[in-house]
């Protein structure tokens, strides 16, 4: 091992530095993947479609009653509540009342599937 010189030490040092940087970058990349996964999971869990559908159906029932095509929606709301409970594990409450003075119909809509709770008081003037 005669004539060993240490001129190339900085090459080894740079090798270590570069590999450490690449390692840290890889860690950041893997973190971003996790963030994307949890984001799309929470989008999936949020029952946007169910709530929009429930709203539109209940307002459609009100329209049917206004057009005289339906007299009483009590049994229909029971259907809705029971099927929601069974198929979506969601609690649904619907209530109607009318304020004569302000000539307003109110519909109270409640939806809770354990992850999202939604409450709305829909108003319509007549």
């Amino acid at each position: 091992m005669a004539g060993l010189n240490d001129d190339a030490q900085w090459i080894i040092l740079m090798g270590f530095v570069v590999s450490t940087i690449i390692f840290i970058l890889a860690l950041i990349v893997s973190q971003s993947a996790l963030v994307g996964q949890t984001t799309s999971e929470s989008v999936l869990e949020f029952s946007k479609g169910d709530i929009q559908d429930l709203r539109s159906e209940i307002i459609f029932l009100k329209e049917l009653k206004q057009r005289g095509l339906l007299n009483d929606d009590t049994l229909l709301i029971y259907d809705l509540q029971n099927i929601s409970m069974g198929r979506m594990t969601a609690v649904v409450e619907v209530d109607n009342w009318t304020d004569e003075d302000s000539r307003t119909d109110f519909i109270y809509i409640h939806f809770n599937d354990g992850i999202t709770s939604y409450n709305e008081t829909y108003e319509e003037y007549y």
Partner: protein, 172 residues
């Protein structure tokens, strides 16, 4: 005479090579975490697509119409037209000729008011079993029926009722 002055370069070369292999392995193994993320994003898109298609079919063409197309299909047990329409809406792409390849199975959930239990019947079942590489999603739509469809099970109520159309959607 063998000269050993290159030993240090050999050691450095080997260690640098090892470092590169280990780094490449770490990078590749951390990017494979991307796969479940991708799957969930496609699920979200598929669910949105199915929900939109059902919402579109459950919208009346004009205010004067008695029923939406979806209500008509279910009331008349018209599975064929429903299947064609739904697949057309879901499989449409920006290309005229190339269609996406989605399959679905749909069931109708109803509430039996006498036994106070919910039941369901199959509305559309694809012919044969398909291989699907991605997850299937379920989309729902509430449908108001004025009376019982002719092909419905006998224990279904005959009057006005609300049923839940459930569609299991997957890409083949």
């Amino acid at each position: 005479m063998v000269n050993d002055s290159g030993q240090l370069y050999t050691i450095e070369g080997i260690s640098a090579g090892l470092l590169m292999i280990v780094t490449a392995y770490l990078v590749v193994s951390s990017t494979t975490v991307l796969t479940p993320q991708d799957v969930h994003i496609t699920d979200v898109q598929l669910e949105q697509l199915g929900n939109d298609a059902l919402a579109m079919m459950d919208t009346r063409d004009s205010y004067e119409d008695e029923r939406s197309p979806l209500q008509e299909y279910i009331l008349n047990d018209d599975t064929t037209t429903f299947t064609q329409a739904f697949l057309l809406y879901c499989n449409s792409s920006t290309s005229v000729t190339d269609m996406d390849n989605l399959r679905f199975k749909s069931t109708i959930n109803y509430y039996n008011r006498i036994t106070k239990e919910q039941a369901n019947y199959t509305y559309h079942m694809p012919a044969g079993y398909d291989y699907y590489r991605e997850n299937a999603v379920i989309v729902n739509r509430w449908v108001y029926l004025e009376n019982k469809p002719p092909g419905a099970p006998p224990d279904m109520d005959s009057g006005p009722q609300i049923v839940l159309l459930e569609v299991l959607l997957w890409r083949v």
